[in-house]
Each structure stands twice: as C-alpha cells, then as structure tokens.
C-alpha cells in the first residue's frame, strides 16, 4: 500500500538540485554517491512503523531504489549501543534514528549526530522543527504530540473530565495509569497541584505533592503498548498518555476518548537524527531520507498515520483529528499546552525520575 506515490523524476531533480546548491563539501560530487543497498532506520513498531513505512520509506525506496530496513529496538535501549559505537569509532547500528527529542538532545550534547543544517527542506518548516540551544541541526524535530488525559467513555457518561484532579477520585483507585518514569505528567501535576509552570524546574513542590497523593490511588505504571493493552483489557479508566496510544485503542474498537484538561497538558516532539560514523555515501543517502521525510508529501502520509501535527505547515490534519485540541497547529492551540524546553528536561530528568520513583516505589 503506497499512500503517497511521488513522482520519481521530481524527487531526483530535487536531489540533484540539492547536490548542486552545495558548492563545496562532501556532497560536491559530479554524480551522486554510490547508493547503498539499504538504509537501517530505527522505529517504534506497530502503528508507528506502519506510519513511517507508508508515509516515507516506501516512496523513498521507490524513488531511489534503496531499501529501508527497520531496527525496532526501543529508543532507550538503542541509545547505549549507539553511544558505544560512536565512542569506539565503529559503524553505528542505524543510519537514521527516529527518537524522542529528549533522547536525541542527550545524543546531540554528546556530539553524536551529524549536522543537518544543509537539508533544503528545512526551509519553511514550523519553528518547532529547530532544536533549541544548539548551533545548526544535530537533530530535526518532525512533529508534536500531546500527553492527553485519555479515558474510557463508559466510565464518563457525563462527558470528558474537566481537570487532572479526576485522577484523585477514589472511584478510580487502581484504575489509573501513568508512564513508568512519570514522563509527560510533571507539568500537568505542577498546575493541578496549585503550582506555576514558570517555576519548573526551580520549585516543583506542587507537582511532587500531587504525585504523592496519586500514589495512594495505586496507579499502574507502564509504557506505550501497555496503555492500549490496559484499555483493551478493561484494567484502567484513565491514563496520562500520548494521544497516539489512545487513538490506537479507539481504532481497535475500545471505547476511549481523550481531553486536554483545564490545567493544560504537556506538548513534546520527536526527532530524526543521523549518528556519526557512517560511510560517506550512506551519510548522503541518510540525509536524503531525512530531507524527504520533511517534505510535504512525506509529512502528510507519515503524520496521517500517527494523527499528529507535523512540522511542515502545508499538511492537512487527518479527518478524525480536525479541530481536536490534541492536534495543535495554530499559536492559540499551543497556548493551552505546556512546553518544557528539552534542555531543561534533559538536565533535570535524572532528578525528576529519581523523585518519581521514590514516590511510586516507596
């Protein structure tokens, strides 16, 4: 199934133009560098893989003849392998890493990634595409996503819950779920606990107090697939999770909806980046892959699959996400959402993680 066939000639013209615009440097070959047989791209599996495969990889492969092979290792688990490879000057296990921006930022701080500033398709992207606090583009953000409050519609006949405080309702004891590192929940907890977003990371007492109260509610803690699974198996009524998981459960026939409570919800991004240490020709084609992934056609197909707003402003939302507050595109949409700069996230993650664990494992 190829949802977005692109005209082979158009793409190659683009690629040729790309090489021609660079007067010097390693791309200044008369002809394009030798094509590798395949490129390895790290992806999350399931719907995530289907989305990038249908939206980006298949058309890229068709246009270039380069096969795309997937490495489905979790981003967290691939990271030490990548770091070890770059440090030991070995060829990295993947050519393109689809990663959370937080993890990609850590790698960028360690100077693990190739600079992507010369990709032509960076022009015209939303500002959110650019990583903050770096010179150039050691990574490029590809879409935004919101940590929504997902709920089982059966449990809420009156309609969507208004506030994150619903998690403290004794009725839902043992029937709520969060990510097992608390990720995505801190800003919401900070506001729901009576604190201010501006006080992150200096004074987060409100957030910790709120999470402390939540511990008494015996939450389940898990990862992306767990949420879908738990909704399907009737284990939970409420969860703080990425909208994609709730949408996935809904598509599978589970009666699930989501909302952005009055306190707001955290918005974050995922990124693509290319680790150092690839052979020159593979680097060239890996860059072409990333460049193509940012094009309007590819972004449209990829983000349709995910139900998430891409960084390319020219794409249209999928039908079921039109007008959804969890599909922010305009500045006023973003006002309801809370963004924690990734550098702050990265610098404080260890401490936040430790605190969250000490509350939940206590």
């Amino acid at each position: 199934m190829n949802r977005n066939p692109i005209d082979r000639r158009t793409f190659l013209q683009g690629a040729g133009a790309f090489a021609a615009t660079l007067p010097f440097g390693r791309f200044a070959f008369a002809a394009e560098p030798a094509k590798p047989k395949e490129l390895i791209v790290r992806v999350w599996g399931g719907e995530w893989k289907d989305a990038i495969d249908g939206g980006v990889s298949q058309s890229f492969a068709k246009a270039t003849g380069i096969g795309i092979k997937y490495d489905e290792t979790e981003d967290n688990e691939l990271q030490p392998k990548l770091w070890a490879a770059v440090k030991q000057k070995r060829r990295p296990p993947v050519a393109v890493n689809w990663d959370t921006t937080t993890n990609a930022t850590k790698s960028a701080l360690k100077k693990m990634g190739e600079d992507l500033s010369d990709l032509p398709n960076l022009k015209g992207l939303l500002p959110v595409a650019q990583p903050l606090g770096f010179e150039g583009y050691p990574l490029v953000n590809v879409y935004s996503y919101v940590y929504v409050l997902a709920y089982r519609t059966d449990a809420f006949p009156q309609g969507a819950p208004k506030s994150w405080k619903v998690l403290l309702d004794p009725k839902f004891k043992g029937r709520i779920a969060l990510y097992n590192d608390g990720i995505g929940f801190h800003p919401a907890a900070q506001v729901a606990g009576g604190g201010k977003v501006e006080d992150i990371p200096k004074n987060m007492k409100a957030a910790w107090d709120f999470i402390g109260k939540l511990k008494a509610q015996k939450p389940l803690l898990g990862e992306d697939p767990d949420f879908t699974n738990w909704f399907q198996k009737g284990e939970i009524d409420l969860a703080c999770t990425i909208v994609t998981n709730a949408r996935g459960a809904k598509k599978n026939g589970v009666k699930v909806a989501w909302t952005i409570p009055e306190e707001g919800a955290k918005v974050d991004t995922d990124a693509l980046w290319i680790p150092k240490g690839l052979p020159a020709n593979e680097l060239y084609w890996a860059k072409q892959y990333v460049n193509y992934a940012l094009s309007t056609e590819a972004q449209q197909g990829w983000c349709d699959g995910l139900g998430l707003p891409g960084v390319n402003p020219n794409i249209n939302p999928p039908a079921d996400m039109v007008g959804d507050p969890a599909y922010p595109t305009k500045p006023e949409d973003f006002k309801k959402l809370i963004r924690v700069p990734n550098r702050i996230q990265v610098e404080n993650e260890k401490e936040w993680f430790g605190k969250f664990k000490s509350i939940m494992q206590g």
Binding site: N76, E77, Q79, P80, K106, F353
Partner: protein
C-alpha cells in the same frame, strides 16, 4: 577398533602434554575453560567498576574524569534503593522456599513412579514451558489473571469478583515461581535418583510415618540437589528483570529494574554500574551464606560428601 587406536594415539598426546607428574594440577586444568568463559563477565564488571566511579554531568551528558564515590553515595542516600533491594531479597527468599516445596514432590514422583508413561509426561511437561520464553509466558498469565481474564470470567459465572490478581507483589512472586520451577525440578531429580529406595522402605517398615521418613531420611539425603536448586532459584529470582516489569504493574520493581532504569532511562551508566555492582556483591554474599549454612550441595566434592 579404529576408535581404540585413535584413543591410544590421543593417550600418547596426552602423556606428552600432560604427564602424570602434573596430576596435582589436573583439577585446575579442567576448570580452566569455564574460568576463562566467566572472565568475559569479569571484564564487564571491571568496566562497570570503573564507570561507577565517575559522575555524569547532565549538562553535557559526559562523565567526569575525576574518580568519585558519588554514585555509591547517591545510591546509599536514597531510600528507594533500599526499599527495592529489600523487596528483591525478601521476594527471592519467598520464591526459593515456595519453589522448592513445589519442586521436590514433583521430582520425587517423577523419579519414583513405576509407570514409564507417567515419568515421560512429567518430564515433557517440565521441558515444554522452556520453549516459550519468559516474556510470552508472563503474558499468558496476564490473560488468565487479568481483570477481564479467564479466571475472573469463571468467577463471574459464580457471581464472584472480579478480583485484582495481577500488577502486585504476589503476582510477581507467582510469575517467578512458575518460571523457575522447571529448573528446580531438574536439579533436584538427580539427587532423588541417588537415594536408595530401600532405605526409605526400611524406615517406613519400621513404622515411621511417611512424613517422618521424608523429613529424616529422604530430604537430608536429597540435600545436594535441594541446595543446588536453592542457589539457582535464589540468585535468578534476585536478579530478575522481566517479571516485575510485566506482572508488577510498574510499582513493584526489583533491583535489576533499577539497573535498567539507570542505564537506559536516564542514560547514567555510572549510576547503573554502581547499582549493578552492589547487587553482584549482595547476591554473591547471600550465595556464600547459602553454601556455608546448607553445605555445598551438588557442588560439593566427593571427599566432603562421603
């Protein structure tokens, strides 16, 4: 004939390379390959030991060049680690006890049964679960014990429940018992085989209740197997990672989960190494206690045993 000629030739090579005068060292020589293999782990431990002595700078995500005990201090100062460690040790102890209690009768019946078919069925039942990995087996239990799972729907027919049977501490221990049971039986069975049935029969014919015979004759004689099983089950349960993740619902972590979190979730290999090394030390210490208190079990030497 060919085989014996070859054996003779090999004997010649052996005699040249390993004359009888070296006999004293034969034991050490035989141990060499295994010792060398474990050396791979020791190299890893050395790397972790070094990593654990450097502190991660979260502004650059590089580890500092200075040697420091900060990772160990941080671990020691955080109550979470002690709670999780205590939970792991207690859990491993309970799992060991329950597993042995379940495994011994199974091994006993398997060895003693007069029916070859019974023995075969018991053996095959033991081996088959090995072929479905730990993770998939744990997911099987989620389907059986979940809120809308098989058991709860049976209870529902009887008008009971639904009960919450998973995502708690007991379900983690249950999963571990179920996972480690076949290992325990396989280590106990040879020890039971070695017991002369006549001795048991003699005890019973003298009027001893079978439970007394079990306690005073069978169990002591099977001790080598029980100790080996205890060591294996205890250390594997103590260092397990998967069961707490799948059956614990995220709030019943064992210490190996803390190692995972440090290495993978917060990208702090120094802290992860420190936790791992503390775990190795504690597990080794407890294994030493088991060895000393219970005797060396199947791992013993012929001289000690007889």
């Amino acid at each position: 004939m060919g085989a014996s000629v070859m054996l003779e030739a090999l004997e010649g090579i052996r005699a040249t390379l390993w004359p009888r005068a070296f006999k004293r060292f034969t034991g050490a020589m035989l141990l060499l390959p295994a010792v060398a293999l474990v050396l791979v782990l020791v190299a890893g431990l050395a790397w972790m030991g070094d990593a654990s002595l450097h502190l991660l700078d979260t502004e650059t995500f590089e580890t500092g060049a200075d040697y420091t005990a900060a990772n160990y201090r941080q671990m020691g100062g955080q109550a979470t680690y002690w709670i999780v460690l205590g939970r792991s040790i207690l859990g491993a102890a309970i799992v060991t006890l329950v597993t042995l209690v379940l495994a011994f009768p199974y091994a006993y019946v398997m060895v003693r049964t007069g029916s070859a078919w019974t023995r075969k069925i018991l053996l095959v039942s033991l081996f088959l679960p090995f072929f479905i990995g730990q993770v998939v087996r744990a997911y099987g239990w989620l389907i059986i014990l979940g809120k809308e799972g098989l058991l709860n729907s049976l209870f529902g027919i009887l008008g009971l429940g639904p009960f919450k049977m998973i995502y708690n501490y007991p379900s983690v221990l249950f999963g571990l018992v179920q996972y480690l049971l076949p290992f325990a039986v396989l280590l106990i069975a040879p020890a039971v085989t070695a017991i002369d049935e006549e001795i048991e029969l003699a005890s019973e014919s003298l009027g001893a209740h079978w439970l007394r015979t079990f306690r005073h004759v069978t169990l002591p004689m099977a001790k080598p197997g029980l100790v080996a099983a205890a060591l294996v089950v205890f250390t594997l349960a103590l260092t397990d990672y998967a069961m707490p993740v799948i059956l614990g619902g995220g709030t019943n972590d064992f210490i190996a989960n803390a190692v995972y979190d440090a290495f993978f979730r917060i990208s702090d290999s120094g802290l992860g190494s420190a936790v791992a090394i503390v775990l190795v030390l504690i597990a080794t210490l407890l294994a030493a206690v088991i060895l000393t208190v219970l005797g060396s079990g199947t791992l013993g030497f012929s001289a000690e045993r007889r």
